[in-house]
Amino acid sequence: MKFTTPGIAMLFALLMAAAGVRAGEVQMRGVSNPQQARIDYILKCQGCHRPDGGGDDRSNPPIKNEVARFLGVPGGREFLARVPGVSTVDLDDTRLANLVNWTLYTFDPAHMPADFRPYSPEEIGHLRRHPLRLERAETRARLVKGFSQDRAKTHSP
């Protein structure tokens, strides 16, 4: 195959597009290793929360289009690191922080606050030492009630 000028231009455009995708990944703040996060999600979360994070209200609550809304209510940021599935998982703090930040960006980009401060391994390590137990459903219901007001404005489109 001989490379013609339009061919080279096209190759260049493809390379730029690939670079664009990479840039998109880099924009996930606090995610140092997205491949690791993806596999950790499959191994530790997906079994119950489904491959697309969909869930349902009977078995496991949805992550998709929902999880980042907790960041907007008081106590929500702490809640996300203290729910049993997060706090008791057998991952170290660094991998868990990587996974939580990745999950927020991947499953609910629309609700990510512009000034999102990524979870650090230290913060995760501190919060997971006080995991939620039987009060988790009640805590979640209280927080969800808190963000029912912003549902009106975020659901405008």
Binding site: Q35, Q36, R38, I39, I42, L43, K44, Q46, G47, C48, R50, P51, D56, R58, S59, N60, G85, T88, D90, L91
Partner: protein
């Protein structure tokens, strides 16, 4: 007592009159041959079997033609079944990745990794249960590699994982590849 003696005498004389030594030999020969066929019956085949559970020989082997996917999918020793606890769907009218007709696949699963002997890489396997009809009863396997105690419910295979389905009645288990693990899996 005399009556009992008479009865015994009549019985033994009757037997002696009606049977010959040859017929006894024939009967004995038939019994020996008959006993040899007992291991062919399904009862004996269910009792033998692989170290991870019985029943491997009762089913025709199901081998993929893909060299990347070696092994018999109806055997407990098949690589994807490394953490399985239940009946193999491939012995129950389904396959290693599909449910038998009339059952519903559970969307909620337990997930682990198994090493593929073809390339020695760890693959992420999702053990989706098939639910809706009573236990299949074929090819019971119990390997449990990486199984965690029940205090870690997301990594324990002793629970009934027929969750999120219309029926919670367990039929059999599949083992579906959902990804390739990284080099340092946990």
């Amino acid at each position: 007592m005399a009556g009992f003696d008479k009865w015994t005498e009549r019985l033994s004389r009757g037997v002696a009159r009606r049977t010959s030594r040859r017929s006894t030999l024939a009967w004995l020969g038939a019994a020996i041959t008959g006993a040899a066929t007992i291991p062919v019956l399904p009862v004996a085949r269910a009792a033998s079997g692989s170290p991870h559970g019985g029943g491997g020989a009762a089913n025709a082997p199901l081998v993929s033609t893909n060299p990347q996917d070696p092994g018999d999918q109806t055997s407990c020793d098949y690589w994807r079944y490394c953490a399985i606890d239940g009946f193999l769907c491939s012995c129950c009218g389904g396959s290693a990745s599909t449910c038998p007709p009339g059952t519903e696949m559970s969307p909620i699963t337990w997930i682990g990794t198994c090493t593929n002997p073809a390339d020695n890489r760890a693959y992420v396997i999702s053990y989706n249960d098939c639910c809706g009809t009573s236990s299949c009863g074929q090819c019971l396997c119990n390997r449990n590699e990486g199984d965690r105690p029940q205090v870690r419910p997301q990594s324990n295979n002793d629970y009934n994982w027929c969750l999120g389905t219309q029926s919670s009645v367990y039929n059999c288990s599949t083992a579906i590849i959902v990804g390739v693990a990284l080099d340092q899996p946990k």
